[in-house]
C-alpha cells in the first residue's frame, strides 16, 4: 500500500524562482522523496491537480482567472496549503501593477509599447484580474514562507516539519525579499 505523503506544487504569477529554490535543497530532496511523492506541478508530468493531495506548495501571486482557478482547485483538493515566496505571500512584484487599470496597462505594453504587431492578446491567454492579490486573499492558506526566493534551508525546514507532522515554524529563517 502506498502510504507516501502527496505533494503538489504550482506556479501562478511568479518567476519560477521559488521552484528553483525548491530544487536547490540539494540532497535534501532525497530525504523529502523518501517520505513523499510530488504528484503535480512544473516538475512532473501530471495534467490535472489530483484529488487527495496532502501538501500544496503554491508559488506566485493570484493575477489572472487561471491563477484563481488553479488556487481554488489546489485548495479544494489538498489538506495543507503552503504559500511559497513573496509573490504568494505579499503580491510582491506582480502586485506593482495594482495602481494601474488593467486596460490601460495592457494597452501601454501591447499597443503603445509594441513595434511589430500592436494589439492586446486575447486568444489563449487568461483574463487578468482587476487587482493582483496574495494567495491568502484568494483561498485559505495554512503556512506562509516568504522570501524572494525563500532560502532553500527555509523550504527544506517547512517541508521536513510538514512531513514529520509538526507545525512549521520558520523562526530566524523568516525573511522577506
Amino acid at each position: 500500500m502506498d502510504t507516501k505523503i502527496k505533494i503538489g506544487t504550482c506556479w501562478l504569477d511568479g518567476c519560477s524562482g521559488c521552484h528553483m529554490s525548491l530544487l536547490d535543497i540539494d540532497e535534501g530532496i532525497v530525504a523529502v522523496l523518501k517520505k513523499a511523492d510530488i504528484v503535480f506541478g512544473p516538475l512532473v508530468d501530471a495534467q490535472e491537480w489530483p484529488e487527495g493531495v496532502d501538501v500544496a506548495v503554491i508559488e506566485g501571486a493570484v493575477s489572472s482567472q487561471d491563477d484563481l482557478k488553479m488556487a481554488q482547485t489546489a485548495r479544494t483538493r489538498s489538506k495543507i496549503v503552503v504559500a511559497l515566496g513573496d509573490c504568494a505571500v505579499t503580491g510582491n512584484v506582480p502586485a506593482m501593477r495594482n495602481g494601474i487599470p488593467t486596460r490601460r496597462l495592457l494597452e501601454r505594453i501591447y499597443v503603445e509599447g509594441a513595434t511589430a504587431t500592436p494589439g492586446v492578446p486575447t486568444d489563449g491567454v487568461p483574463a487578468l484580474l482587476k487587482q493582483v492579490v496574495p494567495l491568502h486573499e484568494a483561498v485559505k492558506v495554512d503556512v506562509h514562507v516568504p522570501g524572494c526566493p525563500p532560502k532553500p534551508n527555509a523550504i527544506l525546514q517547512v517541508l521536513s516539519d510538514l512531513l514529520e507532522g509538526r507545525t512549521p515554524d520558520l523562526g530566524n529563517k523568516l525573511r522577506f525579499g
Binding site: A83, D86, V89, T90, G91, N92, V93, A95, M96, N98, G99, I100, Q131, P134, H136, E137, V141, H144, V145, P146, C148, L170, L174, R175, F176, G177
Partner: protein
C-alpha cells in the same frame, strides 16, 4: 525637572526607581521609559524613535503596560516616575505590535524584493523579529510618486512609514527644516519646502543626514541597486552626543 531645592530644604536628587519587567532600575527623572529600558538592555521595539532626536510617539511599536494605567502607553514619550512598574511584553502587546507592523506594510507599497534597503531595513527586520509571516489586512496599493529631482538622493513615498525621523533630523540636527508631514491620516505625505520638489528646495544643504536617519528605503542615495543601500544611522545620534545632548 532639574535639581532644585524642595520645599523641605532637601535637594531633590532627581533619581527615581522603576521596575521594568520585574527588575528594579534606577533612572533620572525626565528620562523616558524607552531610554531607561534600552540603557539596561531591555528590548522594546521602535521605529520612529532615534537616539539624539526628540520623541514623537508616531509608530506605536514601543507601547508598554504601566501599572495603574488602563491603556498602553508609548515608552518613547512617557517619562519614568518613581515606583512605576512597566511591562515591556505580553501576549496582548505582542499582538498589537504585530498588527501595527502589518498595517504599516498594508498602507504603502513595500516591495522588499526590489528595494535598495532590503537587508538593511528596520521595518523588514522588525517584521521578521516579530514573526510577521504575512499581512492579514488587505493592501491598499496607493499610487505614489518617487522624487528623483535631487542630484544625489531619492525619495520613494512607496516605502515611507511617516516616522518623521528625517523631519526631526533636518530640523533639530542640521537646522534646515526642509521636511514636514502634510495631510492627515492615510493621506499624510512627507513634503520638502511646502510641496516643492526636493531638488528645488533651496533650504536643503544636501547633507544627507535625513537619508541616513530613514529606517526604510524611502530615502536613499542615488546609484545603489537592490539590497545595496546600507545606512549610517549612528551618525545622527553621534552628532547629538558630541554636542552634549543639545
Amino acid at each position: 525637572m532639574s535639581a532644585a531645592p524642595s520645599g523641605k530644604g532637601i535637594t531633590v536628587t532627581d533619581k527615581v526607581k522603576v521596575r521594568i519587567d520585574g527588575e528594579v532600575i534606577s533612572a533620572s527623572a525626565g528620562q523616558t521609559i524607552l531610554e531607561v529600558a534600552r540603557t539596561s538592555k531591555k528590548y522594546i521595539p521602535a521605529l520612529c524613535y532615534m537616539e539624539g532626536l526628540s520623541s514623537v510617539g508616531a509608530c506605536r511599536l514601543c507601547m508598554v503596560e504601566v501599572s495603574g494605567v488602563a491603556r498602553l502607553v508609548p515608552a518613547c514619550t512617557t517619562p519614568v516616575q518613581d515606583g512605576q512598574a512597566v511591562v515591556t511584553t505580553s501576549p496582548q502587546i505582542e499582538a498589537y505590535r504585530k498588527m501595527t507592523l502589518e498595517l504599516l506594510f498594508a498602507e504603502r507599497n513595500h516591495v522588499c524584493a526590489v528595494c535598495v534597503s532590503s537587508g538593511h531595513c528596520e521595518l523588514q527586520a522588525l517584521a521578521q523579529d516579530h514573526g510577521v509571516t504575512h499581512v492579514r489586512f488587505p493592501y491598499s496599493y496607493p499610487r505614489l510618486s518617487v522624487d528623483t529631482t535631487h542630484p544625489r538622493y531619492v525619495l520613494d513615498h512607496n516605502r515611507c512609514v511617516l516616522c518623521s525621523r528625517c523631519v526631526r533630523t533636518c530640523a533639530e540636527i542640521e537646522g534646515a527644516h526642509v521636511w514636514d508631514i502634510s495631510g492627515r491620516g492615510v493621506g499624510s505625505r512627507l513634503v520638502s519646502e511646502l510641496q516643492r520638489p526636493w531638488g528645488e528646495a533651496t533650504s536643503c544643504t544636501s547633507c544627507g543626514k535625513c537619508v541616513q536617519a530613514c529606517p526604510t528605503g524611502a530615502m536613499a542615495e542615488k546609484g545603489w541597486g537592490v539590497e545595496e543601500m546600507a545606512k549610517e544611522r549612528a551618525v545622527v545620534s553621534r552628532l547629538t552626543s558630541m554636542r552634549g545632548g543639545r
